[in-house]
């Protein structure tokens, strides 16, 4: 389903302002469900992927 973000009823002013600013708050909601160690591990996975993409782009650019 591709619906719009549903603002939590308890969302405070900073949260509402961030939504208005265009932040995808589902990302932070997911992150806050994780332990700090899990967050860093997930970040490492994302980083590995981004570096791989970056390097592939550079290789492609040199061809």
């Amino acid at each position: 389903m591709n619906g719009e973000y549903v603002m939590p009823p308890d969302a405070g002013p900073a949260w509402r302002a961030a939504v208005k600013y265009g932040f995808d708050m589902s990302l932070v909601e997911e992150s806050l469900k994780l332990t700090p160690e899990q967050r860093l591990a997930e970040h490492q996975r994302v980083l590995d992927f981004l570096i791989e993409v970056q390097e592939a782009g550079q290789t492609h650019g040199t061809k």
Partner: protein, 165 residues
């Protein structure tokens, strides 16, 4: 170029260096979904401490990444006593060691405003949420301002949860 923060943290810990994780990795630690491509720590300086940094990364071909000629760390030993910051590129990624954090203060103050977190690979100190917001506000770059927006949402959420208990 690889960036392995866990390995760098583990090596710094094993070197005996007293340090606090700051910067982007600390932002991630607190729950912000932003990627960062370096590891920033705050630590006390002085020759003995820079030697600990060196011992942590000496087999990783560390170079001063911000110098024009990327000077190898080992070739700058004579200046270890006068360094206040070290910005390194290593085989395990970028490692920036800072003697103080704008908006927070020197290492003692940074440590006072940190929290200890126990991971499966060791215990590490991270700048607490309020101090991290102050640091990011002081840094003031566009990406710092974005981080502040996220961090303030997380702080708001924490404060709401505290009110419930």
């Amino acid at each position: 170029m690889a960036q392995n923060d866990q390995a760098l943290l583990t090596r710094l810990k094993a070197s005996g260096l007293d340090f606090v994780v700051i910067g982007g990795v600390c932002v991630v630690y607190h729950g912000v979904p932003l990627a960062t491509f370096d590891l920033d720590v705050c630590c006390p300086f002085g020759e003995a401490n820079v030697r600990k940094i060196e011992s942590a990364v000496k087999d990783l071909h560390p170079v001063h990444r911000l110098t024009a000629n990327k000077l190898p760390l080992e070739e700058t030993r004579s200046s270890f006593g006068s360094l206040k910051n070290v910005y390194l590129q290593t085989d395990l990624g970028k490692l920036d060691c800072l003697g103080e954090v704008a908006g927070v203060g020197n290492f003692d103050e940074v440590k006072r405003q940190s929290v200890v977190s126990k991971f499966s690979y060791g215990e590490f100190r991270f700048l607490n949420l309020d101090a991290l917001i102050a640091a990011k506000k002081a840094a003031g770059r566009e990406r710092d301002r974005e981080a502040v927006r996220w961090l303030e949402c997380i702080k708001e959420k924490h404060d709401q949860q505290k009110e419930l208990f």
